[in-house]
Symmetry: C2
Subunit: 451 residues, 2 copies
């Protein structure tokens, strides 16, 4: 039997039901494969068109001369079984079935037939009734939207929209994803297959899941328990409230289950439970860019006293330790910084701080990093501070302390500096609270050290 | 004695210590007054320059022939008293003293002298050691950053950075502010003066405060209690935790006070207590754009089932009622919408929903609005949906139900649609959770109806 890997690393793809009409799914899928930069062969299949988007069009799968690894299916439900049979005979390894009209509207038998055809040929199915897959490591955007930046987030999502939002934010910040997968009815391949794949995938540094229910016997719990020992796992699972659970039931006919128990489960195994889309994205971003710091002690360096206090509150509320600054560093900081600076934790460089002052302070922090014992430095830049990115990069390259940045109130200077820092692999958050919240989640993971 | 109004509506301003060097405060302040579009007279004062930024420069205040309403002071601390005396003789009504070097570094006597000079002439002081004021209703940007969009947020902030972040977000979204005020040492004019002014200011629809401590006998509590009966008041007050209170004490030498009591105080008087910068901005934005809906019943309309559930959870957790849809609307909705739509609350228009489908559904909701009894409609647009803005505008114009929008996962289409909606005065949030959270806060206000 073929595997998920055969699908993700397909080198030839046919789009069955490819279309020239922009309103059609078969148009969007063909377009996005091309726009996504897929480097293998792409075969549009449509009996009525000679060519589509500059590619020769084929009447059927059997008309294609070369071999086909993967088909993306956009034909009406009634035609899907026939397509699968033809694909099976052709030696196709996998099918992403975008087409709906199966179990989700009561056509359970039609859906079951698809699985039996697939099993006959060893073919694997994603969907039906799904939004497809973007696997950037193979430049394979068999879904929408088009996101091309290769990153370290492996994402499986129940909701296409929530997944797209995560993916688009990652794209906008230049962080990217490894994978976006929206699995629809999950007839064959499920989250479990993806979780297991992501654990071994060297591109993936964080596993992100948006799920609404956990089917009994699906192996989900075992898979995430195992995964969370290797890589940070972030889960956004709605249905926390009574009304939310009713909505889950009518959305995906799944049971949200006992929410309190699910939280206990996550806590026990070091799985990050995100409360909302913002938190999910923040945790994915941080975990993709920063290995879990060695301890929960945080030093805050800021030009904005008020922002430093907000960071302190958030830390204190979420188990991050704002350990006082030891005398070891206080003396050299006092010598190096202007008298109005508050030599404490938060280390307040005050409102007129330049990037030079940040540089002076962070040089000392790096120099004494081992003695001070902070796992993480949060640099808060308030107001436009040119040169901030350069200082941050130096701290990152020094490597003696994990670095997180928050930049706010800085207008256009900020936009340029943040882009530079993101490109250098430094996680930057728009508010200090979001930075500290994401850190607190990352610290809750229980990654096992390699033997 | 002159008043805060005399400062905010100044028609002639002198910048004392104006400078041609971009690194100087006196450069920034002069530049920003000009760039901010101030329509009155601007007099740069600097004995060494013949002109600055195209304006004739004066050796001293007394050299200016016309009258001067307001001075912005950027000279060293030692020269401020002399400047004030000269201003008093000239009949200046108010002074924004940017210069630091007073009480914040122990020079209490120097600071006290400023007040006695001011009192002698009836002059009012903002600062010293402050970031100044932007009052867009008078196009008077005597501060930084430059923000020119006139809006409905009246903001007083302890932290210049936090205030700037709120202001810059409002500018970026085209929402703007009425006022940004960062008061520094608050020798004379305090938050209380601003709160009282904002209550009567027809431009201000929401009063936003970032404070770190409340001085006893300052009249702060009385002022916000009174204000909160007239307009929504949003307060961001850090120092919630033990470590945060220590940081407050070293930042502004103020006492954060008992945090639990402060929360009780806010709840009792319908004052919105924001937990973080994001929440503060969201509450300001919503209250600036939407009067408090008549009840806490929310109808969710969505193309993204998953997003609808997240909105439902957030509502259920925050006292917003996801009241089931009554049969009155169910029948016409069933007749009008495709069969896969889930006719419930959330009303799930499903993933292939077009703006036409949103239009059909919202027409029915508006038509039956009185019978249905929802105070608010949350329209969630998931994925790119062209034409979304037009539908939203129609609902807003209809006016029978308060409208909030969340748009996510929509890439470049979303950006254009959101800009159009914001320009039309419709509050749009990047996630459904943020939309519902802001609504829940707005519903907690206790505005008294006009007699």
């Amino acid at each position: 039997m073929y595997t998920l890997r055969d699908i993700l690393y397909a080198s030839s793809i046919a789009v069955v039901g490819a279309s020239g009409k922009p309103s059609k799914m078969g148009h969007k899928l063909l377009n996005n494969l091309i726009e996504g930069g897929f480097q293998g062969k792409i075969y549009p299949i449509n009996p009525k068109e000679p060519e589509l988007m500059g590619l020769p069009c084929y009447k059927s799968l059997s008309d294609v001369e070369g071999s086909i690894d993967l088909i993306v299916v956009c034909v009406p439900a009634a035609a899907v079984a026939g397509t699968l049979r033809e694909a099976g005979k052709k030696g196709v390894k996998g099918a992403i079935i975008i087409s709906g009209g199966f179990r989700e509207i009561g056509n359970d038998d039609m859906e079951a037939e698809l699985l039996s055809i697939a099993r006959e040929y060893g073919m694997r199915i994603i969907g039906p009734n799904c939004q497809g897959i973007n696997y950037t490591a193979n430049q394979m955007c068999a879904t929408w939207p088009v996101v091309i930046t290769q990153g370290a987030i492996g994402l499986v999502t129940q909701s296409g929209t929530i997944g797209a939002e995560i993916e688009l934010r990652a794209e906008a910040e230049g962080i990217g994803v490894t994978c976006f997968a929206a699995l629809g009815n999950k007839l064959d391949i499920t989250e479990v297959d993806f979780i297991n794949f992501f654990v071994e995938d060297p591109h993936v540094k964080v596993i992100a899941l948006n799920i609404e229910g956990i089917a009994k016997g699906s192996g989900f719990q075992e898979a995430v328990i195992k995964a969370a020992k290797k890589k940070p796992v972030v889960i956004l699972k709605p249905g926390r409230t009574a009304k939310g659970q009713v909505a889950v039931a009518s959305h995906t006919k799944s049971l949200a289950g006992n929410d309190a128990l699910f939280s206990v489960f996550c806590k026990k195994y070091g799985i990050i439970r995100a409360n909302d889309i913002t938190e999910m994205y923040d945790c994915c971003k941080l975990a993709a860019m920063l290995p879990c710091p060695p301890n929960n002690k945080l030093l805050i360096m800021t030009s904005s006293g008020g922002s430093g206090i907000l960071a302190t509150d958030t830390a204190d509320e979420n188990g991050v330790d704002i350990m006082p600054l030891s005398e070891t560093a206080k003396a050299p900081l006092r010598d190096s910084l202007p008298s109005q600076c508050v030599i404490s934790n938060p280390l307040d460089l005050t409102g007129d701080a330049t990037s030079e002052r940040y540089g002076d302070a962070s040089d000392i922090i790096c120099q004494y990093a081992d003695k001070l014992g902070y796992g993480t430095l949060l640099m808060i830049y308030g107001d436009p501070i040119p040169g901030a990115a350069e200082v941050a990069q130096k701290v990152k390259e020094d490597g003696r302390i994990s670095l997180i940045v928050s930049y706010l109130g800085g207008g256009s200077v900020q936009a340029a500096e943040v882009a530079e820092m993101s490109a250098a692999g430094i996680p930057v958050f728009p508010t200090p609270e979001r930075a500290v919240k994401a850190l607190s989640h990352l610290l809750d993971t229980k990654i096992e050290k390699e033997a």
